[in-house]
Symmetry: D2
């Protein structure tokens, strides 16, 4: 069965578990009292010590998870555990962390209510994402689906001429089974999915695409590709004049059209249908005005030469990546995507977000550090399939943020909100 056929099968499995939105809407009933409320979380929008204590207790009740490192009750003493995370260590940078939710998600793996931790020093960010989460929850929640996944490593080989390159490629192209073997011997988690070629003159980039289990996987794919390249160099019928393990094509730590068009890490798409009354009660505007804003701002984004069209993916993703020990520098890849907002039946609002390049994981990197580990437990993102689950939470969180900022722009609240939450006094 070919790769594309297998991908088809996966898609079927993925989608079979998702409720149609019409059913979601039938099941929920908007609670108009709730619309006028602020937050299910105690001490809404506050930062003081008392409300913090209430929230910690509330989260314990809701999720069973305690957060002693995050609150400062417990302190990490053993710096030995920092091996693999830092060199020339001088201490711990401390970043204020808030929580939003519950974010209600219908995913293939993320299902139910989630309290999402966000680490940031930017006032109004948590308030805004929380508002978006409320609006979606009142309308039955967010459908969020991890569509596909792949982490790339892309070595480059240069030859004397096209002719030598042709001989090399002819030899290379039927070696995928050998490479699969090499990968399985190098890593327990990595699987080679595909090998692609991009030729330019006497030089070719070879793109190896992997899945990497529950790890983000950048190191894993480096080690595997390194072993593959050793095999190539020992066996190639024609030696390259130059070769490098990464051609700068794989999209590591940068936004690229390749990652945007295909996938890097995980590709997630999420949607929600926001009802008229919730738009009015929670977001203080109308579907028509939000849609008008989004259409106008989409054109302006295109005029500015952005990759994709979105509002502020980076805000929510940075805060969530930071709290959960992701490689935060990957925000430079993950911030790219597409947000779409349009009216449905005149008065309701359809919102979707698509995030094609989420390089995230639930083991490895910073995920095992004390506060980060607690935050992943708060999201119940540990163990098998938890990386894809986490990606679906990312999608739903981002949708909440896009909805809230577009509403703030449409209603004219944007400047005032930042006056209230973004200033010291």
């Amino acid at each position: 069965m070919s790769t594309s056929a297998l991908k088809a099968k996966k898609l079927i499995e993925l989608f079979s578990s998702i409720k149609p939105y019409s059913q979601i809407l039938e099941e929920i009933k908007i609670d108009f009292d709730d619309i006028n409320g602020v937050s299910k979380i105690p001490g809404p929008l506050s930062w003081n010590r008392e409300s913090q204590t209430d929230r910690i207790r509330f989260l314990k009740e809701q999720t069973g998870v305690e957060l002693p490192y995050l609150t400062g009750e417990k302190i990490m003493n053993d710096t030995e555990s920092l091996k693999g995370n830092i060199e020339q260590y001088i201490g711990m940078t401390q970043v204020p962390t808030g929580v939003i939710g519950p974010l209600h998600i219908h995913g293939t793996l993320a299902q139910g209510d989630f309290y999402v931790p966000l680490a940031t020093s930017e006032g109004a960010l948590v308030a805004s994402y929380n508002r978006g989460a409320r609006a979606t929850r009142l309308c039955g929640g967010v459908v969020s689906v991890c569509l596909t996944e792949s982490v790339q490593r892309a070595p480059v080989f240069k030859f004397k001429s096209l002719s030598e390159e042709g001989i090399f490629l002819a030899w290379l192209l039927d070696k995928q089974e050998i490479f699969n073997d090499i990968v399985s011997k190098t890593s327990r988690y990595a699987e080679l999915q595909d090998m692609k070629i991009n030729m330019e003159g006497n030089t070719c980039v070879v793109i190896f695409e992997y899945t990497t289990g529950e790890a983000a996987g950048q190191n894993m794919v480096t080690f595997c590709t390194n072993e593959i390249c050793k095999y190539i160099l020992e066996n190639t019928p024609v030696a390259p004049t130059y070769w490098f393990i990464e051609s700068n094509y794989a999209g590591d730590k940068k936004a690229t059209a390749v990652s945007f068009i295909n996938v890097r890490g995980k590709k997630v798409t999420a949607e929600a249908l926001i009802k008229k009354d919730v738009i009015k009660g929670v977001l203080h505007t109308t579907a028509k005005d939000i849609a008008q804003y989004w259409q106008t701002s989409s054109i302006a984004a295109v005029q500015s030469g952005s990759i994709g069209i979105q509002g502020h993916f980076a805000n929510g993703l940075t805060a969530l990546f930071l709290a959960t020990g992701q490689d935060v520098a990957c925000v430079s890849e993950a911030f790219v995507g597409i947000t779409r907002m349009e009216t449905v039946d005149d008065d309701d609002l359809y919102v979707s977000v698509t995030l094609p390049s989420l390089v995230v994981g639930t083991i490895g990197g910073g995920t095992g550090l004390p506060t980060q580990n607690e935050c992943l437990q708060l999201l119940n993102c540990k163990g098998p399939y938890s990386a894809r689950k986490f990606a679906e939470i990312c999608g739903a969180t981002v949708l909440a943020g896009e909805l809230s900022i577009a509403a703030a722009m449409a209603s004219g609240d944007f400047s005032d909100a930042h006056k209230i939450f973004g200033r010291k006094k």
Copy 2:
């Protein structure tokens, strides 16, 4: 005197203080013993408690700065100070922080030796940037210059037709003095530099460009533009059918061609000349191989559809932004730029980096938080002109990282370095 003439004057002032690289090279003498050393900082590449204590003492000696919050000696008790930074507060995310240096910088404002704090959970990152810093220091340091600055807010106005839009623009275009007045009444720090127009059918984006003192300034320009828009709406001869305070053109939290081509925040360019012996001794390769790598990888980056060409700006910037309380989500803007590496006289290597969109500041946002404030003091980045100084430190840090990764790729060390530093055992 027109804006462009004033910009010219500024450039002259900026550049008059910079030493020519030939003079820098005359003054330094490469110390071959030092090449074989590892780091001036005690306990090189280590993460254990003892070496941490040595390093803290060393930094105190070198800079006079103590880091009690970072080391955990002191703990923030007063959550009231978190107002403006967070809502629904649950605790502090803690991120391991290392230090590199000294990074020797010849800037217009950043001058001398700097010990740069980097907060990250990615093993090998600090080691790699430290290696790059060493290589540049042994060759006399990095020249790093903040070339220009501007933060944008870009409202959009939509009209019934082109004709109404024409009347509006004709009215708008000579109001800049009135807008200057409004800005000076709204903010002590913001100054309106320019107003630009981008028309599309019956819709026009109006781009207001500000300087914002020592603050990153995103809120400041929102408040000022909000006041300007109030004036516009009260006085315009023709009312827009729609208007929004931000058209999504300004480039906030996204990479755009506009920010890349012009500037967003601060534009910095930095350069260094790395001598043959240092390339061999510290970087274990040759100028020719690094240049060959960079040329090959530049083409591959273009093939991947990246904006600009660079290696991993995001790694260093995320770590430095995080340690110093910047808006880390702005890495989605700042990671874009150009790195260039080429041989000089066959055996030496010229390296330059250009970062056109550094939205950074030394007051406001997270810069006053305990550990972040300490890290800014470590860099002596407080007070007048410190934001531009900080931007020049960003440029030099990024250059160190680009040099080190390119050398790792050229020498074939990349995979091994991540095996040593990027794994738990």
Copy 3:
């Protein structure tokens, strides 16, 4: 008076002559018989000899212009006149040419009815553009405005180091008056509008922006910039290590973000309001379906990584450029832009197109060749201001084509139309 102030003044003048669309709509009355017609031009959609003769007679009546070279009645004998157009001449490539119209335009310079010649070998193209032209004419025509103009030449200078580059730029930046003098001595038509700088490490691109009278002007700006560079090299306080007259930044023969964001050649925006009955009668669909198509296809265009969003600017522009002796290779610049379609009052359709990079002229290049000259006369595009007039005709033509193709997609006619017109039998 500064450059931006002058640009403001120009905008005022440009727009003062344009009728508001509401007035246009008041003045026209849709003729329902006409909706069911096909074309005002005799022998609608036909290619045979008889209908050709009728059309030539009709065009003579309407415009006073005869087309003897185009019809083959007259033949160019004197190849001497080909000097400056071709080398190693072997003959004349002959391209079938049709006509659409009348295209009714409300521009700052293009005003009234135009019969637009289109040279192409692609069946259905003329039929489609003609249909779009009809639809707009029945609704009062197209408003098309040339907003601004500028042709660039962008030399690059490289120095030993940033320091030398700073000295050079400090010297360069107040030389604009001297450069103005040089330009006025080099060309009767060119005027230097602005000089911009883009720095990267020790290298700077200097962008000279010109207006070039009625010529497209690429050679003119080369000659002028060459003279400026001679002055620079003779007088600079510090010699560049390298310099080249064109850095490949100016956007000649390529789509660039710079040209898209600013302007290259002429920037035109055009709009029309298409009424419900015309959409139904002429385009066989509804405003809602066209708007839905356009919204959906805009997102897909963004997903594909296009610069801007448009349907097929290149079709109309290539055919019009070819017929009128433009530099057809400039379609690689001109095809970029933005099309927007949205419903107005539910049932009508607003359409706008924006073309930021029309490098066009009415003298020089191929504009004086026999058939090309005739076609420019057919459009009455000769003499002062005719280049901007021609640009406005380009805008209106492109709008007609965008409307027609979007309607074909929305109605499902697209495939059938190409079966009828695009096949030999």
Copy 4:
């Protein structure tokens, strides 16, 4: 055997016929007298009638092809043959046409000497491409290879929600054999190669990739996709709320990242090695200066936000497309690509060009028109495999043009060349 395996096999076949460049260099011997010559074609660089006659005779001798329509000796009388090419016909636009060559090509299909017709009104263009062709021929010629091919049509389907979309895709993904059948019944030439999906919220673009025999194939893929869509709509388990036959994702008449990264039409890469003496004698500069120019201008192209990096692909392609009856509007796709120039052994120059999106054909469209047909015969591009052969000629022609313009920039001849050839007197 899977698609990617088949592609591998194709690559092997393609490359097995190409001579290594080292062998090419061994076989040729640079003739120093020839370096000082100008052109093998009679009447070099001239446009007068006498030299035209000599050239026509020469081409007849060399290729056996006569060009009576091009020279005007014969005139097309039967406008009936214009069916499928034009509507509302008014006559023939006439474009001056020159010839360059011989261009010596080592391709998989294009092998030997070619005299390439170029239709243009831009002085210096033919002279420049001819110079580049000479330089390559003196060094053994150009290796030019068609690497892969694919023409896309990309319908879009929109659903009520992600859930419905999932059901649709699960159904769709194993229908490729049925679609193959439909295609084979709809067209004798089209073959469905692949089907890809790009999802965004409740909307998915389905990309059908075809080969289209010797035709450019845009209409062919429309008709086939239309039949496939009919099947889909009749059989889908869930009806889309909207669908359109082209989502604007396929890249028709626009430069896109998708086409640049993958392929649209044909992807060609070509290379040549230019020897020191030829660079000096024919191009009046050195390898080092050309390489320096190209490196500098590559960075500037990136700074300008171009897709890919090239000099003026559009000039040669427009002229060649025009002369041979291609869809000239496709220059808006074809102009994108990568040019690379670097020194080899210090004094020689390696040049490569890569053109990923050549939508070209040798039947259909304008290829059967009188002058266009003659020009295709001049290139011996008729019959099986001639479309790929033609694509390889495009690659070699473009390489000649890139080499010549870069040399003109490096030597400082650029402005003077346009003074001599680009002006009427």
